[in-house]
């Protein structure tokens, strides 16, 4: 297979492949070395054009891919230590092409939208530098043909995420949010690194294709070592993809600018965990327990985040929890062995979640940085384009049957769960679908309907211009059934899911899923649109308790604070004055005391010195006399 690809790639314009990450890198370097000399327009142009050209390159690659299939390209050897020679080598197959399309395509529209969103902000050059660096790292992550290069991209996107969450650095809370994201994802990264070490010590290579080839020869299915390796990889994926229990950073990550939330914390970086598991599917196939746990974690996360999203008032936090929930669906699909379905949902989710975030960004800017639903409302007449974006994106999120992209991918996930005979996961998915419809309706009605509840909402300014309109229109188009027509070419890369062979009962499940989504929407309209008085239940009694619990996302932050952060700080405080330091401090004090005593003898008086000398001489003579007498 590989050799086949190599021979074909000679005929291919392989020189195009490095451009996908070199263009964002060049953009980063130009912006980084301009030292703030570029104007707003020039910064935005450089930042957007580099990603646009990368997207065009990707389109050319996709055309070449359709004709010639996968290709592989080794640029140079990165490190050479004995047999260990990981290269800067790229592999383009159906999976990485799909990811590449999402990163550069959706990324380009988000960069374009940011040119409108960031008007009048300080440090636009810094913003576009980090954004281009992010795209560069993310492209390396998906194109790397060995785990080391993947890890380089993995850490690079983590860094950019940290930098961009803390973009508005004048508020310390934003800095802490970035700090939290960095630390928590680092926990996952340690697991990933350990998994890489384990695979390398056992298989002697970090090349992904070789690992997938060697693993079935080295291990039986269910072997403890391979289970451990799979669990370690899963740990890395959980940290990056904000799955239970490493999910708490994502909601706080909304402190960054909204285009950042759209690109990094919805469309691309947080789905890197899904990509990792799909990429290493050969390991997970050998580890049924780890695979099952993946599905369970996905199901738990989608339910937890679904409830939490119901009780948020900040529109970006609603979207953050819905992102966690949707990635939970992807993990669920991975858990039942339907890797291609997970990647399909990843793609449609990137479209509609980017659309939702950009629409939310349009609302936030139009309403003078107001993003609390309790102070918005009644905007649909003034902001028709963001409203349409929310409607289309929300329909895809809630999986409105037939016309939305989300329906096709989510329905496929539920079908795969049923075909894999995982009833528990299926029920979790259906309950999650109901929750999704509810919080989506609550979000749209709370933001766009009813009466405007603040001056900021009453004096909303309609967004204008190409940079504002084009991304919303294109992403809205992709969020409908048009997006679902794009079939990722995954058949060669990933094994078929359990539901690909048979279709017995598929249509009845489709009906059930459609009924759940529609029922949820009807319930949402009734609850949040028509019977608003009913919501006062959330203000008192058990309703208020539930609201409080869900508003704080089941209190995970509090639990971690008390079980990890506070004990850690206590330990640090205790160790600050430790025993051994005290010992050395005592020694220092003794020396100082002796010094003080000796310096006293330097009185400056000649008579004193004479007396001391005479006494010393007398002492020496006396002792000499005694010694002589002794012998």
């Amino acid at each position: 297979m590989m050799e086949h690809a190599t021979t074909l790639s000679i005929a291919q314009p392989t020189t195009l492949l490095p451009l996908t990450f070199l263009l964002p890198l060049v953009g980063t370097l130009i912006l980084a070395f301009s030292r703030g000399q570029l104007s707003y327009r020039a910064s935005a142009t450089v930042g957007t054009a580099s990603i646009g050209l990368a997207a065009l390159t990707t389109a050319a690659l996709a055309l070449g891919f359709a004709a010639a299939g996968p290709q592989q390209l080794t640029l140079w050897t990165w490190i050479a230590v004995g047999d260990f020679t990981p290269g800067i080598s790229l592999a383009l197959d159906g999976l990485s092409l799909t990811m590449l399309g999402v990163i550069t395509g959706v990324g380009f529209f988000i960069h374009l939208f940011a040119a409108w969103y960031m008007r009048g902000e300080d440090g636009i050059t810094r913003f576009y530098t980090y954004m281009n660096l992010f795209v560069f790292s993310m492209v390396l992550l998906v194109l790397g043909d060995n785990l080391l290069l993947l890890f380089l991209g993995w850490e690079g996107v983590g860094l950019c995420s940290y930098l961009l969450i803390g973009y508005y650095y004048t508020h310390s809370a934003n800095g802490w949010a970035g700090f939290k994201a960095f630390v928590i994802t680092r926990i996952g990264d340690v697991f990933l690194a350990l998994g890489m070490f384990l695979l390398f010590t056992r298989l002697g290579t970090l090349n992904i294709a070789e690992i997938l080839e060697l693993a079935p020869q080295a291990w039986q299915a269910g072997d403890t070592t391979v289970e451990l390796a799979a669990f370690l990889l899963l740990g890395g994926a959980m940290g990056k993809s904000a799955q239970l229990p490493l999910h708490t950073w994502l909601a706080d990550a909304m402190a960054g600018p909204t285009p950042v939330s759209a690109l990094i914390h919805a469309a691309t970086m947080v789905t890197a965990g899904v990509y990792l598991i799909a990429r290493m599917h050969g390991i997970f196939e050998l580890a049924p327990t780890a695979l099952y746990v993946t599905g369970v974690i996905g199901a738990l996360t989608l339910l937890m985040a679904g409830f939490a999203a119901l009780a948020q008032t900040d529109i970006k936090r609603v979207l953050a929890y819905s992102t966690m929930s949707q990635i939970g669906y992807m993990f669920l699909a991975l858990g039942v062995g339907a890797y291609d379905t997970a990647i399909f949902h990843l793609m449609t989710h990137a479209f509609f979640k980017a659309l939702l975030f950009l629409s939310a960004g349009a609302v936030i800017i139009s309403c003078h940085h107001e993003q609390d639903m309790r102070r918005l409302g009644g905007l649909w007449r003034k902001l028709p384009l963001p409203y349409a974006g929310f409607m289309v994106g929300g329909a895809a999120l809630a999986a409105l049957p037939l016309i939305s992209a989300g329906f096709y991918s989510k329905d496929e996930i539920l079908w795969q769960a049923l075909a894999a005979d995982q009833q528990g996961l299926l029920i979790a998915g259906l309950v999650g679908a109901l929750l999704t419809s509810l919080y989506t309706l609550r979000l749209i009605i709370g933001t766009f309907h009813g009466t405007a509840k603040s001056d900021n909402a009453r004096h909303a300014e309609t967004g204008r211009g190409l940079a504002h309109g084009l991304p919303l229109v294109v992403l809205a188009g992709l969020s409908t059934f048009v997006g679902a027509w794009i079939t990722p070419p995954l058949a060669e890369v990933l094994p078929a899911g359990p539901g690909d062979a048979t279709h017995v009962g598929h249509s009845s499940l489709e009906l059930l899923a459609a009924a759940t989504a529609l029922g949820g929407m009807a319930l949402g309209v009734w609850l949040f649109g028509l019977r608003r008085g009913w919501l006062r239940l959330a203000n008192r009694g058990p309703g208020a308790g539930l609201w409080h619990l869900w508003h704080h996302a089941w209190g995970f932050d509090l639990v971690f604070d008390w079980t990890l952060v506070r004990p850690y700080r206590l330990t640090v405080w205790l160790l600050k004055s430790d025993l051994f330091d005290g010992l050395f401090r005592l020694l220092a004090r003794l020396v100082r005391l002796l010094h003080l005593g000796l310096s006293r003898t330097q009185s400056g008086r000649v008579r004193g010195y004479a007396i001391t000398m005479v006494a010393g001489v007398a002492l020496i003579l006396l002792s000499l006399a005694l010694v002589i007498q002794g012998t």
């Binding site: 000796l598 330097q602 009185s603 008086r605 000649v606 008579r607 004479a610 005479v614």
Partner: protein, 102 residues
């Protein structure tokens, strides 16, 4: 000279040396300190003479010449210091000049 035993001469030298040492240690006035030093040097010279005579050796005499030279040099330096002390402090009290303390 033969009538005086060597021990007597040495005891006299030791007593003179002890007196000089006492003066050196306990006198504050610099003139007395210098005089005590002279007494000590002469006590040492006396011990050389007594020992040289007792053992019928010429080196004792030679050493005394050396001691006299030394004493002269010491006296000149000492008196120069004394004049400087008086210039600076208008007193001959040695304890006043104690600024070089640790």
């Amino acid at each position: 000279m033969n009538g005086v035993p060597m021990e007597h001469g040495l005891v006299l030298a030791a007593v003179l040396f002890a007196l000089g040492l006492g003066g050196l240690m306990f006198r504050r006035n610099m003139i007395f300190v210098l005089m005590s030093l002279e007494v000590m040097l002469n006590a040492a010279g006396l011990a050389f003479i007594v020992a040289g005579t007792g053992w019928q050796q010429p080196e004792g005499q030679a050493m005394f010449l050396l001691v006299i030279t030394l004493a002269a040099a010491e006296a000149s330096v000492g008196l120069a210091l004394l004049i400087q002390l008086y210039h600076r402090f208008r007193t001959l009290n040695l304890d006043v000049a104690s600024r070089m303390r640790g």
